[in-house]
């Protein structure tokens, strides 16, 4: 039975399949193109970039830019490369992603399966919160963090990212759970299962794909955030993007494009890693067991 439900019900002919593959591959090329530009140029000496064709393959292959971006490039006064900032980012991203995803899942669960008067309005309020421009948040948030004693610290950054990610994670889970059969939850309630037990035993096991979406979203946004990192971090909590930005965005200095590109790819590795690992949970049939009860 599991095998049967893992199949897609759609059957396609040979010509359709060829067409599908063609489209998929063409899009893959479209997505890869800028990456190609970055990769190729990160393997060239700088003179080849400023002096020649930026789309061409390197004549003189070198990995020096990568080594430089990782450990010797100038980020601030000290030439540390991006290396020391990785840990800061991970210490900030991991708790922020976990907390916001868990809260989002619980909120989505309450809003769909434990409904009460006014819940739709509350959800609407949370959704609208997604649209608050970060520019207006900065100053009052700085004041709040100062009052809470969290200014310039990793917990402060975690708080900021959880708060402004909640709207999204709630949205994802609420919309996903709204398609989840309520009868199953009812049946469990009648069996005497409590709030958390139902969540843990019934909702969570079938939430694979949406957890992936939520984690990818949060991980990417928080990892790549610059504005909050630059404004609310201290020297001990300065995240990766601020360092990358310092590497790339000097205004009156010499621009080493090859090092910039290498740095950008390095900085993206953790996110890519998450995509590949999380992607495994995009498997049809995760739901099958519980849907069939």
């Amino acid at each position: 039975m599991t095998a049967a439900t893992q199949d897609t019900a759609i059957r396609t002919g040979r010509i359709t399949r060829t067409f599908i593959y063609l489209v998929l591959v063409l899009f893959a090329l479209f997505y890869l193109l800028p990456f190609f530009v970055m990769l190729v140029n990160s393997l060239k000496p700088l003179s080849e970039i400023t002096g020649g064709n930026m789309m061409a393959l390197p004549q003189d292959w070198t990995i020096a830019p990568w080594a430089s971006a990782w450990s010797t490039a100038q980020i601030g006064v000290e030439a540390t490369g991006l290396k020391p900032f990785f840990l800061n980012s991970i210490l900030m991203v991991a708790p922020a992603v976990i907390i916001s995803t868990v809260l989002g899942a619980l909120n989505g669960y309450v809003l769909t399966k434990w409904r009460f008067r006014g819940d739709t309005i509350l959800f609407g309020l949370m959704l609208f919160a997604c649209f608050i421009p970060f520019q207006i948040v900065l100053i009052p948030m700085a004041r709040m963090l100062g009052l809470l004693g969290l200014a310039g610290s990793t917990p402060g950054l975690v708080l900021v990212h959880v708060v402004y990610g909640l709207g999204f994670t709630t949205l994802y889970f609420r919309n996903y759970y709204s398609a989840f059969p309520t009868e199953l939850v009812r049946a469990a309630m009648i069996d005497g299962a409590g709030f958390f037990r139902i969540f843990w035993r019934i909702m969570l096991p079938s939430s694979g794909p949406i957890i992936v979406v939520s984690v990818i979203w949060q991980f990417t946004n928080i990892w790549n955030d610059f504005l909050f990192g630059a404004s609310f971090a201290d020297l001990d909590s300065m995240p990766m993007t601020v360092a990358l930005n310092n590497l790339v965005n000097s205004s009156t200095g010499v621009k080493e494009y090859n090092v910039h590109f290498a740095g950008a790819i390095l900085a993206a590795l953790p996110t890519l890693f998450v995509y590949i690992v999380a992607g495994r949970y995009f498997v049809r049939g995760l739901m099958a067991g519980s849907v069939k009860g």
Binding site: I75, V77, I139, A151, N246, S251, V254
Partner: protein, 417 residues
């Protein structure tokens, strides 16, 4: 019970005090000097302070010529957690001083005699209400032209000294099939050219009337129309792909001989040196023709924020002293491509262009022709600077003709006031 509590509290308070004094012996420095040369130059200061056993907590935030850093400062101050020293430009220092956020450096300044050696035009930014609040690190100037020497020699171009000679030289380069003027289409780069062009049209008097006094008659007058016409002339010597180009790629065009000239501030020198070119041999630097004797400057300064405890204040004063020491001024500026902010620093360590710039600065400071650069926020406040940017860029991109641009300049500046 109460007595016991009271005692512990006092003890804890005392402990907190001593630790905070110990920690405060560091300086926390917010800046945007993150490229190799710049950061290495700043490293000199760090070493100097380390020698006085003052620690350096680095807080670099690059981006947009300090824009990102200025945003970060606002967040830090609002959170009640200001850095000790912040790299700042021109009017930002005055704005922060007006908020009462900056420290008073009069004691160090008096002891070191800053008043006598720092040009008055710089002091106008480093002092607020007669008190020193910031220590100037360097002086950049914006009215420079960078030229490829080989191209000039090949085409028999002599260093132009008047606007017409410059246009003729550009024409020669264009006729040879090269791009005459390397330029990047970003608002600040266009404004940097505009600095030089306005000076070349009306000299320092007109420049001051327009950009510092914001006199509508100057902003909208015939001379301004002529300045915009000259910008249009320059536009005709720029290639079609200029829009959005980074300034250093424009420099690379001159370095490679693809282009003849670039109008850019003296930080461009670093690009040439970095490419292994020798000043005076491979490339030439001269003032924008028609602006000789005048220096439009911008100066990076470290604004010192008001910090509460004595240890931090001592560290801060020590840092200000180090910044202004001739040894650091020389070491830093040789690397950075700018010139020292005090006029009594020996020029031995500087290259040809640097020596020329130092002599120009001293002469301009003497003759009263050292003027703040509009393009780099040393002529007026941010709101007005950007209003001028808008019009200059719009004109350069063909949205306005010269007459409309001059008229727009008056309205834009008025609206921003």
């Amino acid at each position: 019970m109460r007595g016991y509590f009271g005692k512990t509290l006092t003890a804890m308070a005392a402990l907190a005090l001593t630790t905070s004094v110990a920690v405060a012996d560091d300086v926390e420095v917010l800046h945007w000097w993150t490229s190799g040369g710049e950061a290495a130059a700043l490293g000199v200061l760090k070493e100097d302070l380390a020698g006085k056993s003052i620690g350096w907590n680095d807080m670099p935030v690059a981006g947009g010529g300090g824009e990102a850093a200025m945003t970060a400062v606002r967040a830090r101050v609002t959170a009640g957690n200001p850095p000790t020293a912040v790299q700042m430009l021109g009017f930002d220092i005055q704005d922060w001083a007006a908020e009462g956020a900056l420290a008073n450096l009069d004691e160090v300044a008096a002891a070191e005699g800053w008043d006598a050696v720092v040009p008055a035009a710089l002091q106008a930014f480093s002092k607020y209400d007669g008190h020193w609040v910031a220590a100037p690190v360097n002086v950049h100037s914006t009215n420079w032209v960078w030229a490829n020497k080989a191209v000039m020699d090949e085409l028999g171009i002599a260093e132009p000294t008047t606007w017409d000679e410059f246009v003729a030289a550009l024409q020669k380069v264009k006729d040879s099939g090269r791009t005459a003027l390397a330029h990047g289409g970003q608002a600040w780069q266009e404004a940097t050219m505009f600095d030089g062009v306005v000076l070349s049209v009306g000299g320092p008097e007109f420049y001051k009337a327009a950009f510092i006094d914001l006199d509508p008659a100057a902003l909208g007058g015939e001379q301004m129309v002529e300045a915009f016409n000259r910008m249009a002339t320059l536009r005709s010597f720029v290639d079609d792909n200029f829009s959005g180009r980074d300034w250093n790629l424009a420099s690379a065009m001159v370095i490679n001989g693809e282009a003849g000239f670039q109008i850019m501030g003296d930080w461009a020198k670093g690009e040439f040196i970095n490419a292994g070119k020798v000043p005076g041999v491979d490339f030439a630097c001269f003032r924008v023709p028609g602006t000789a004797g005048v220096v439009t400057f911008n100066s990076d300064q470290f604004a010192m924020f008001a910090v509460a405890d004595a240890g931090a204040q001592a560290a801060q004063a020590e840092m200000a002293r180090s910044i202004m020491s001739p040894a650091f001024q020389s070491a830093f500026n040789v690397v950075k491509g700018s010139v020292p902010s005090r006029t009594d620093v020996p020029n031995d360590a500087f290259d040809d262009c640097g020596k020329k710039a130092m002599a120009d600065l001293a002469a301009a400071a003497e003759g009263g022709t050292l003027i703040g650069s509009m393009a780099h926020g040393h002529a007026n406040r941010a709101a007005i600077k950007n209003a001028i940017y808008d019009v200059v860029t719009a004109h350069f991109n063909g949205e306005y003709d010269a007459e409309t641009a001059a008229a727009e300049l008056v309205t834009a500046v008025e609206a921003a006031q």
